[in-house]
Every structure is written in structure tokens, then in C-alpha cells.
């Protein structure tokens, strides 16, 4: 789950990290009011959960409350990378001397959180990592020892910070590290972390992503979920415990297990078809969940054929078949459905599905994918 800039900054502030004064609003009038209260120049920033809002014009400077209102009006009407801008953050503009990068994420290779810093702040850090890896300094954080003074000293020295900023930098890095751990984050970035003209450090932009698996124990953070982050279909899938990603094609896919689902999509594509979605019903899927999954797939008007691939382990094939039967009870799927089932209670499942109209049962994944592709009509 992604947090907005203003939400991320609110968390950082709780950990003692200096952020610009500011407020969030959804009207130009209030934007003017905020600018009035802050006094002087302000930045008006679109709050959307995609990158690249700066290039898209989603950040504007304003020298007066009236300019702030104008900027807010312009930004609140925008759609950035498909997402409408619902709110803007109005905050005091900073006098920037240097822009740094400071970020934390989980390094899967070593199973630890890694803190990264670069003197090349304010830009796409992944590009820096790619083009100039020597410009990124990093330290791996022991989960039991935390971010330590010697980590801060190393990074501060790497960044070439003057000695006067080592202690504040250490405070920010330790705060960010604590925020990461205590929020169950998967990413926490300050980019840019700026050195202002008067020689202090300030978190000018911030981004925190949360580990979805940890949201049940982070109720306060889970409540920050932004409805505009996901489509209604995605929200429905999430609530049903389904992993669902809409794609561009015509073949609706329902598979148990993420790996098998990816391999199924790969097979569809390799055989000339285009998957309409990724949909993993998970382990031990019961009939009800299968039904929701099918509803989701069939609600996509582009779908011309459905491919169901289930390998029974925890998931019992008869439960899946029963879900399919219930989803179709009293109504026709409208498109051809190809089913392939192997594993626990496979025979019972075949019996149930054999009685359904429009459902074709296949033996192998390849045969099933081939049939689905042909039924969907290649290239349509």
C-alpha cells in the first residue's frame, strides 16, 4: 500500500525529521488560505500515487495566496498517469542549496533493510543506481541493532556533508529507519533531502510504501488507504483475498498460485493470445471466492474466453468446480470457458464440470491454453 506525500511526511515528522510547514486541501480557496497562513512563497503539490508528477506539471510555486489558489485550481483539474488529482499539499517553499537522496528498502538478497544515500538527490534514483552505482552509498541494517551512529557517519562522510550536519543527518537517518521498522514499510524515501541555504537539513519530498502483509497489525496506517489508488474491481478482489491485476487482452485467466498464474499467462501469450488479467485465487480457495473471481473476470467487457487452470493441493478441485457451477447457475457465462484441473479430488471436479454448458475440460495446460486462445479469436 502506498502513502501520499503528505501522509508520509506526517509519519516522518513523528520521528523528529524536519519537514516544511504545510497543509493539504482539495479546494483552491483553502489553498489560498493556507498560503496566507504560511506567508511568503509556497509550493503547491499534487497528491497522487504515481511518480513523475513534477514533469507532468503537478508541482507549482506560488508567490502569493492568489497564485497559490490559481496553482491549486490548475493542479486539482489534472489527471496524472491516469489518476485524477484529488488533493494538493500547500507548503512553504525552501531555499535549496543541495539535494540529497536518502532511502530504505528491503534488500532481498541479504534479507535486511538497506539504507541508501546519494549526493544526486531530487532525480530518479534508479537511474543513478543504473548509470553511476558509485554515486550511491549504502549500509545494511541489522534488524536487532538498528541504524547506528557508525552507519550515519559512513553515509554522512560519503555524501561529503560538513561535520556540522553529521548529528542532524544521523537523527534523520535513525528516524527514517525507526519509521520504516515501526510502520512495517517496504520503502521509505526522502528525495530530495535538502541542505537549505541557511545550512539545515529538510525532507522536501517523502514516500512511504507499506507491507500489505503487515497492515492487520498497523490499523492506524491501514486506515490511510486511498480509495483512488485502486479500481473498484481491484478493491473487490483485495477484499475477497484475490490477487488481481487487470491487463489489456481478451482471455480472462483464473489460476491458483502466483507462479502457475504467471506461467499460464506466459503460455497464453506464447500461443498467440493476450491475457485480460492476472488472477490468483490463492491456496485453499473455496467455492465462494472462485465465484467472486469469475464475476470479476466476466465484468471485463473485453473478455472473449475464460481459462481456468487449477492444480489441486490445498485447493481442492471439487471446491473450484462447485464455485464455477454456482457462478454459472441460472445464467450463461456468455463466453466460452476452458477448464483444466489436476490434483486433489480431480475426478469429482470433472463430474461437476461435465454437466455445465459452455465449459470445456482439458487435460493439459498447453491444450487448455491453445483452446482458449482459439476460442477468443486470435488478435481480437
Amino acid at each position: 500500500m502506498k502513502l501520499h506525500e503528505f501522509q508520509s511526511k506526517a509519519i516522518l515528522a513523528r520521528y523528529g525529521i524536519p519537514i516544511p510547514r504545510g497543509e493539504v486541501t482539495d479546494t483552491p480557496a483553502e489553498a489560498a488560505g493556507i498560503a496566507e497562513r504560511l506567508g511568503g512563497r509556497v509550493a503547491v503539490k499534487a497528491q497522487v500515487l504515481v511518480g513523475g508528477r513534477g514533469k507532468a506539471g503537478g508541482i507549482r510555486l506560488a508567490a502569493s495566496p492568489r497564485e497559490a489558489a490559481e496553482a491549486a485550481a490548475a493542479i486539482l483539474g489534472m489527471t496524472i498517469r491516469g489518476l485524477p488529482v484529488g488533493r494538493v499539499l500547500v507548503e512553504e517553499a525552501a531555499e535549496v542549496e543541495r539535494e540529497l537522496y536518502l532511502g530504505l528498502t528491503v534488500d532481498r538478497a541479504i534479507g535486511r533493510v538497506r539504507a541508501m544515500a546519494s549526493a544526486e538527490g531530487g532525480v530518479d534514483i534508479e537511474e543513478v543506481a543504473h548509470a553511476r552505482p558509485d554515486r550511491i552509498g549504502s549500509v545494511a541494517i541489522d534488524p536487532f541493532l538498528g541504524f547506528r551512529d557508525y552507519h550515519a557517519r559512513y553515509l554522512a562522510s560519503f555524501l561529503g556533508l560538513p561535520a556540522s550536519l553529521w548529528v542532524p543527518f544521523s537523527g534523520i537517518a535513525q528516524g527514517l529507519s525507526a519509521a520504516f521498522a515501526e510502520s512495517d514499510a517496504s520503502l521509505a524515501e526522502i528525495n530530495p533531502l535538502v541542505v537549505t541555504r541557511d545550512g539545515t537539513l529538510l525532507a522536501l519530498d517523502a514516500k512511504i510504501n507499506l507491507d500489505d502483509n503487515a497492515l492487520p497489525r498497523q490499523p492506524e496506517l491501514a486506515a490511510l488507504r486511498n480509495a483512488d489508488e485502486e479500481s473498484p474491481a481491484e478493491a473487490r478482489a483485495r477484499l475477497a483475498g484475490l490477487s488481481y491485476v487487470p491487463l489489456e487482452g481478451t482471455i480472462g485467466c483464473m489460476v491458483n498460485g502466483a507462479g502457475l498464474a504467471m506461467a499460464t499467462l506466459d503460455a497464453v501469450k506464447a500461443l498467440g493470445g493476450m491475457p485480460a488479467n492476472f488472477l490468483d485465487v490463492g491456496g485453499g480457495a473455496r467455492a465462494e471466492r472462485i465465484q467472486t473471481a469469475l464475476d470479476l473476470i466476466l465484468s471485463d467487457p473485453r473478455v472473449r474466453a475464460v481459462l481456468i487452470n487449477i492444480f489441486g493441493g490445498i485447493t481442492r478441485c471439487d471446491e473450484v468446480a462447485r464455485g464455477v457451477a454456482e457462478a454459472f447457475s441460472g445464467r450463461s457465462p456468455g463466453v466460452p470457458v476452458v477448464v483444466r484441473l489436476v490434483g486433489t479430488n480431480e475426478a469429482e471436479a470433472r463430474d461437476i464440470l461435465g454437466q455445465l454448458e459452455g465449459v470445456r475440460v482439458q487435460r493439459s495446460l498447453e491444450e487448455a491454453a491453445r483452446l482458449a486462445v482459439s476460442l477468443a479469436g486470435v488478435g481480437v
Partner: protein
């Protein structure tokens, strides 16, 4: 021989009185696994399918000589269950639970470093040595004993591959599902190392997927340290960048961890990489019975 699980394996089931724990205890017993104990706090003294239940893993180990554990507790308690098993010096812990917070696993992995406990998982199907013992949730009947070691980040995709091998008359030494989460107890390299040293295993099948760099590290290991032939498949070639595809691990970040990149790395290490799942049995058969040699 085989790896990780054999006829010496004496299993304790953590969370044995839950729905999944009870069901799979029965399944594992039916497969022939020596399930010697179960643990559910507060239910010590009960029995599940004839298996005695204890309040703590330590008591279970003391009373029954259990040396392996499988965990079916809910995600929020999984880390503690793993730590309890490690504290009781259980040598192999297989964690089935899915949805374990990543930072819990960061802590668990750190806690286990230097201990005598190996963790497989979480969010994995477990380990099976066909015909000997099953410590997991995979459908046992699709496996047959043989010379092929299987290691995979996926669950059902592994069953698919094993099923195809069995259908083609090719048996397996041990099949290990390492799990799909970002931070795991055991990675590809750990399992490859065990297979390389296992006399029964002649060929290894590695099933990867997009995200992370475990396949790339496996490729490096295979190139520099393995003599046995490896056949690989990588799922997710059709996945769009940046979209979450079910597994938390299966995210393509900034171009790293793509299926193509992983396949390329494996090929460069001398691995036979299947384009389609269906090619795997054929690639394996070509490599069976051949003398081993360096992959470098």
C-alpha cells in the same frame, strides 16, 4: 539419500489443532511421514489423528525426539512459531503460513543466523522426498521416487512440473518449495548446494519467477560450483513491469529481476532453460544418465 527430509525425519506439527494443521497432519501421516507430535498452546494432552499434542515445541522435542517442524499457524504468529522451534533446536523448520510480514522474516532470518536450525519458507508448499516422507502440503500422489531434484519459488507451478516429470516416467529425489516471499529462510543456492552433494540426485530442476535476484545468484553458484546438470524454467515473461503479481516477491523493480534477464543469466551458467513448461521433461531426460561435469 535425498535431502532435508528422509526416514529419520520425526515431525512436530505447530498449529496441529487448526483446520489446515489437522487436515495436512492426516495427509502427511497417510503419506508415511513420521508425525510424532503436535503443538498448540493450551491444548497439551489432546490428540489429533493419534498424534499427541503439547503446549510447547520444547516439550514435544523432549518427549518425542522430533527433529523437524512444520508450521500452520496464522501469519501473525508465524515468526514466533519459527523462533520457538529454533529455540527448541529443531533442525528443519518448514513454514507453510502465508502473509507473514516481511520485517518479521528479516528478524527471523537474522535470529537464525549461526543457529543449527534451517528454515524453509514461509509461504511455501514444503518439502517432499517421494516414497519416504512429505513435510508439506503438496499432493503426494503426483510424486514418484527418482533421480531429479526439484527446487522452486512457486507452489502449484512446482506441482505442474513434478506432475509432468512423473507422467514422463521421471521420478524425483526431493522436491523443495522455498516459497515466494521477499525474505526466505532458504534460497536457491542453499538447496542447489544440498543437491550437488546428494548421491541420489543426478539432475536438478530449478523453477524461478520474476522479481529479486535469487535466480541470478543461483546462476553464479551453478557456474562456479556445480557439476550436476540443471534444467530451469522462469515464470513471468508476460508480466508487465511494476505490477504486483500475487507474490510480494514478483515485482519487477527498475528493470532488474526480469524473466528474460534471469533466463539469460541461467543460460550463461550452462543451464538448460525451458521456454515452455512442456519442454522440461525432455530436457531432463537428455541429461539423465550422463556423466556430470563442470557447468563452467
Amino acid at each position: 539419500m535425498a535431502i532435508l527430509v528422509d526416514h529419520h525425519t520425526r515431525l512436530v506439527v505447530q498449529g496441529i489443532t487448526g483446520r489446515e494443521g489437522t487436515f495436512h497432519t492426516q495427509q502427511m501421516l497417510a503419506y508415511g511421514t513420521q508425525v510424532v507430535a503436535g503443538v498448540t498452546p493450551g491444548k497439551g494432552g489432546q490428540q489429533v489423528h493419534g498424534v499427541p499434542v503439547f503446549d510447547t515445541v520444547r516439550q514435544a522435542v523432549a518427549e518425542t525426539g522430533a527433529n523437524a517442524s512444520i508450521i500452520f499457524v496464522p501469519a501473525r504468529g508465524a515468526a514466533d512459531a519459527i523462533l520457538e522451534a529454533a529455540d527448541a533446536e529443531v533442525a528443519l523448520v518448514v513454514c507453510i503460513s502465508e502473509g507473514v510480514p516481511t520485517l518479521d522474516m528479516v528478524r527471523v532470518r537474522r535470529a537464525l543466523r549461526g543457529s543449527g536450525t534451517r528454515l524453509v519458507g514461509p509461504n511455501c508448499p514444503g518439502v517432499i522426498t517421494p516414497g519416504v516422507a512429505k513435510v508439506g502440503i503438496m499432493p503426494g500422489h503426483i510424486h514418484v521416487p527418482g533421480p531429479v531434484g526439484v527446487v522452486s519459488r512457486s507452489g502449484t507451478l512446482t506441482y505442474e512440473v513434478v506432475y509432468a516429470l512423473t507422467q514422463a516416467g521421471i521420478g524425483q529425489s526431493t522436491c523443495v518449495g522455498i516459497g515466494g516471499d521477499p525474505v526466505l529462510g532458504t534460497g536457491f543456492v542453499d538447496v542447489l548446494e544440498l543437491f550437488e552433494d546428494d548421491p541420489q540426485t543426478e539432475v536438478v530442476v530449478l523453477i524461478g519467477e520474476i522479481g529479486g535476484s535469487d535466480e541470478e545468484r543461483a546462476a553464479t553458484f551453478i557456474h562456479s560450483r556445480m557439476r550436476k546438470p540443471v534444467v530451469a524454467f522462469v515464470a513471468g515473461r508476460s508480466a508487465p513491469a511494476g505490477k504486483r503479481m500475487g507474490h510480494a516477491g514478483a515485482i519487477i523493480d527498475g528493470g532488474a529481476g526480469t524473466a528474460e534477464g534471469k533466463m539469460e543469466a541461467l543460460r550463461a551458467a550452462g543451464v538448460a532453460v525451458a521456454e515452455m513448461l512442456g519442454e522440461i521433461p525432455g530436457l531432463v531426460r537428455e541429461r539423465l544418465g550422463q556423466p556430470g561435469g563442470p557447468n563452467s
